[in-house]
């Protein structure tokens, strides 16, 4: 395995990232001058209302913005070294996407997807089943050998999300960007996937950027929280402060909404 991460703490910094959409000549800012730092061994939650630019931040840092969206400014530094966004992909940052059902090529098996990741990670030989089996077992896919030969349509959303996490393990990257990893799953599966992610971070000492708009998830997993509004980070604090002493109105609104829902569920 390529994971040398447990021993050496590492940092990933995003500096002054801007993302804008160009529509008929004029620009619309989606992310404005955003900076954040992610350390291995911690879970940094990036929260904010839908459309506040959380996904664009992840995509912008890795240089995978959709057509018509550009990133005019911004740097990425890993351990203080400037890197091109594409150098992050799969090597330093692995990504867990929101909708596991559409994140797999419908005509390729789970094993094909694993090979794709291993090829990038320069793990040799890429087609070796042992490493894939280990990763599948680690994420709780008991019947690893059967799962390898399955196509996406033969699997449940929860299983697919587990495979996506296994792919993150296989990449050997020290950082994970998890963009709303549980939003499209039902509640029980959500809880299991969250346990899995936090266990992974603890065991392997990864650094996770957890994008969510669910403060329940934040309370449960995060070490630090960055709150986004309209493309900017408006507050960044340890998780306890966010719940007990929120400063920005956007943070207060998120916490209030969460408490209201939570009390509603209790009553």
């Amino acid at each position: 395995m390529l994971t040398s991460d447990i021993s050496t703490p590492r940092t990933l910094e995003i500096r002054g990232l801007s993302v804008c959409a160009t529509r008929r000549g004029h620009h619309i800012d989606l992310v404005r001058n955003l900076s954040l730092t992610l350390n291995t061994g911690e879970i940094l939650a990036l929260v904010g209302a839908s459309g506040s630019g959380k996904s664009m931040t992840c995509a912008g840092a890795q240089g995978v913005l959709p057509p018509g969206v550009i990133s005019p400014h911004g740097h990425v530094l890993v351990d203080g070294v400037h890197l091109a966004p594409r150098a992050l992909r799969g090597r330093l940052v692995s990504t867990v996407l929101q909708n596991p059902r559409s994140a797999f090529n419908p005509v390729r098996t789970m094993f094909d997807h694993a090979c794709e990741v291993r090829r990038v990670a320069a793990a040799s030989p890429a087609g070796d089943k042992t490493a894939v089996r280990e990763a599948f077992l680690e994420v709780g896919l008991e019947d690893a050998d059967t799962v390898m030969d399955l196509y996406p349509f033969e699997m449940s959303g929860g299983m697919l999300q587990r495979v996506m996490i296994a792919l993150a393990i296989l990449s050997g990257a020290p950082f994970i960007f998890a963009d709303e990893p549980t939003t499209d799953l039902d509640l029980i599966v959500q809880a299991r996937i969250l346990d899995l992610l936090s266990g992974l971070v603890a065991r392997r000492g990864l650094g996770m950027l957890l994008v969510t708009h669910d403060m329940g998830v934040v309370a449960r997993l995060a070490t630090r929280v960055a709150v986004m509004e309209a493309g900017q980070i408006v507050e960044e604090a340890p998780v306890a402060d966010i719940f007990h002493a929120p400063r920005h109105p956007a943070t207060r609104a998120l916490v209030a909404a969460h408490l209201k829902l939570y009390e509603g569920a209790i009553a």
């Binding site: 057509p67 799969g90 090597r91 692995s94 090529n105 419908p106 990670a121 990449s171």
Partner: protein, 291 residues
């Protein structure tokens, strides 16, 4: 013959449609198999040299020596028909190869890069698509000169816009898929991305388009050869044979009818197979089979 039809792969998905409805497909498949074998094994199958002139035997009817008779130079018609398959199939295969070689890079670039390049390429394609393909092919032959190679180039150029547009639309459609984003954030390079995630869909669409065009292209090759623009006259080719036989249309009608029938059956077979393939492979086809 019965053995062949029974063991044909069509049997395997026999749960829809009656045998009766599948009959055209079985016949088409048989025709294609016969054509392909004739083309591949022409030197072994053909009873005689297709270009062997024997003026003593000219314009003979069917006999033991010449099953389908001889033409105005005493050449064996059956042998000429068999060798003719090489010309028809060979030139169609070359056409399609050339079309794919042009359409996949152009359509792929238009879809991937987008912007001005896409605009420019697609306006060019639109412009070419406004001409009927025969007219455009004739124009190109006028510019390039006659001969089989130029005919193939002309047919390829006049057909590639349809393919390039299809490649572009597949690329545009897939480009916004989550699994392509997932592959990109995994660090897959452009080449791998293209081979693993784009090429299979592109290939399926190309097979459908090409199989529907095969018959059409055969007609082009023979038609242009008939006009004296393609294959040169001594070569055994169906269009050339029809052209050679024009002066004997009343005395020896079989000289025109036989290559005409070959052409007719090949084109029909190609079209029937093309339709069947489209039904199976084209995801947009509502009447198609579902698995």
């Amino acid at each position: 013959m019965t053995d062949k039809t029974l063991s044909s792969p069509i049997r395997d998905h026999g749960h829809h449609g009656s045998t009766w409805r599948r009959l055209p497909l079985v016949l088409a498949l048989t025709v294609v198999v016969v054509l392909l074998s004739a083309a591949l094994f022409a030197p072994w199958i053909a009873p005689q040299d297709p270009n062997l002139v024997s003026l003593a035997d000219r314009l003979k009817g069917p006999s033991a020596a010449h099953w389908l008779g001889t033409d105005h130079l005493g050449r064996d018609i059956l042998s000429r028909l068999i060798y003719g398959t090489r010309m028809s199939l060979g030139s169609v295969i070359l056409c399609i190869a050339l079309i794919l070689a042009i359409a996949i890079p152009l359509g792929g670039a238009a879809g991937f890069i987008g912007g001005r390049l896409d605009q420019g390429l697609m306006r060019l394609c639109d412009g070419m698509m406004t001409f009927p393909t025969v007219v455009l092919a004739l124009f190109l032959i006028g510019a390039l000169g006659t001969g089989l190679v130029n005919v193939i180039i002309a047919i390829a150029i006049s057909h590639f816009p349809f393919y390039a547009r299809m490649v572009r639309s597949v690329v545009m459609n897939l480009r916004s898929k989550d699994y392509v984003l997932a592959a990109r954030v995994c660090g897959a390079g452009r080449t791998r991305l293209f081979i693993d995630h784009f090429l299979p869909s592109i290939a399926a669409q190309m097979v459908v388009l090409a199989s529907l065009d095969v018959g059409h292209m055969m007609l082009h090759v023979s038609g242009l050869s008939f006009l004296g623009l393609g294959v040169e006259t001594p070569t055994a080719e169906w269009g050339v044979m029809i052209s050679d036989a024009r002066q004997f249309v009343f005395s020896q009608p079989m000289l025109i009818v036989l290559p005409g029938l070959c052409l007719l059956f090949s084109v029909m077979a190609a079209n029937i197979l093309g339709d069947a393939l489209r039904d199976r492979l084209d995801p947009n086809n509502q009447t198609g089979h579902h698995h």
